[in-house]
Structure formats: structure tokens, C-alpha cells
Symmetry: C2
Subunit: 117 residues, 2 copies
DNA sequence: CAGAATCCTATACGATACTG
DNA sequence: CAGTATCGTATAGGATTCTG
């Protein structure tokens, strides 16, 4: 089983800097290369696993599953698996995840301004 | 010299996923554990190197310098060194860096809501 | 004061192959 | 379809020491 941890941004000095800073808190939740992209995709509505793969072609299955799990653990994403064959699994943003919309939007706006220059 | 690269978030598949996504673009600029914190500190006004170290006690000098350099390269932060002895170096947000304020603020707001639950 | 240099560890991510 | 498992690499970050 190996119990993959891989909890986003690293944090070696365990005792010291555990989230006194709200910005760090956020980066721990949506930091990394893929999580914001996944959330951004889900912002346009619930998607099945295969739809996410198509929407983000560059991501590997490992990364997608891994970050989806992490996002579930952090209560940003809900997973609904319907017990049929073949399986149908749908991912959607939780209320908390939906609340990230302003953050992502602010990022997108800034990116456009920055790329102008 | 070794030419340290250390350009934020990794990107192995060089040819493929180079910034088609605005969110990725932003994460490349302010991703990682320290950059948002540094920017957040500078949002309250210009600060000297030593002030930054005091404001962010957990950061090592290497990380602080490294990310300050990166932020300069990305035109988010300005560095002003006055040629006196002992040296006086002041860091401040560039206009582009200042434009990140809504992003950071949105993060902080979300963090507070998230930590309530 | 404001850094540079060196060495090291943890982990994020990629590639590929396999499964209920 | 929706995952798991395993191996390998790149890089973020830490600790310590030294300097103009």
C-alpha cells in the first residue's frame, strides 16, 4: 500500500510554521501545478473522471487521481460514484470549493494584465 | 557558479504545457511556500532585507534571497540598494506586484471562511 | 547588513504497466 | 471507465558556514 502522503507544498519544520499565515493555508490547499487547474475545470460544473482527463490532457492519471483525493480530503471537491458497470464517477466542487471562485477569478484577471506587458 | 535555476513550479514536459492556462501562469509566479508570504509582507509597504527576515522568522536566508531574486526577475518586486556601508537594501512591490493585492486578499478572505468550519 | 556557497533531504511530478 | 502500483527524476526547501 505504501500510504502515499504527498501532501502538497512541503513543510519540513513540522513544529514551527504550521499555518499561522492565511496565505500559506490557502497555498497548502490549492498550491501545486495541478490543483488550481482541476478546480478551475470544476468551476464550470461537475465532471466525470474521463471528462477531466480530456479537459486537462497534459496531466497523468496519477496526478489527477492523487490531487482529486487530496481535494476531497480538504473538502473542496465531492466525489459521487454510482455503482454501475462500467463505473460512473462524477466530481464536483463542494460549497467550500465553490467559494474559491473569487480567488481563481482574481488570478485569471491578473494573468491577463501581466501578459499584456 | 552552478547557475541555480530553481524556477518555481516544475515543468518537465518542456514542450507541451507551457502556459496555455492563466491559472498555471499565476502559480508559476506566486506559487510555492514562500513567495505569497513575501508578497503579502511587502503589501504593507517597502521593507529592508532584515525587516523581511524578522517578519518571516521561519524562512531561511537562502529561501528569502532566492525568492526575492525570482520575484525581481518576474517584475513583481523592486530592489533598491544604496551604496553605503553597511549596505541598505530595500525591497518593494512593483506596480505589477501591487496588482496582486486582490488575489492575495481573496485568498485571505477564503482562508478565514474555510477555517471557521 | 545583506548576502553567497555548499551539501543534503523531502517530495512533487512523470512514465509506464496493470486491474476490478 | 476509473482507477492502482512501481520506479525514476527534477526541484523545492533546509542547515550550516563564510564574506564584502
Amino acid at each position: 500500500m505504501t500510504q502515499v502522503k504527498e501532501n502538497s507544498t512541503r513543510n519540513y519544520n513540522k513544529g514551527i510554521s504550521i499555518n499561522n499565515c492565511p496565505v500559506t493555508y490557502v497555498m497548502n490547499k490549492i498550491g501545486g501545478h495541478w490543483k488550481p487547474i482541476i478546480i478551475h475545470q470544476l468551476m464550470s460544473g461537475p465532471k466525470r473522471y474521463s471528462e477531466l482527463r480530456k479537459a486537462i490532457p497534459e496531466i497523468t492519471e496519477k496526478m489527477l487521481i492523487q490531487h482529486l483525493k487530496q481535494l476531497q480530503t480538504d473538502d473542496l471537491v465531492n466525489r459521487e460514484a454510482r455503482p454501475v458497470v462500467p463505473p460512473v464517477v462524477t466530481y464536483s466542487l463542494s460549497p467550500l470549493g465553490t467559494d474559491l471562485t473569487p480567488v481563481l477569478n482574481a488570478m485569471v484577471e491578473w494573468a491577463f494584465r501581466a501578459q499584456q506587458c
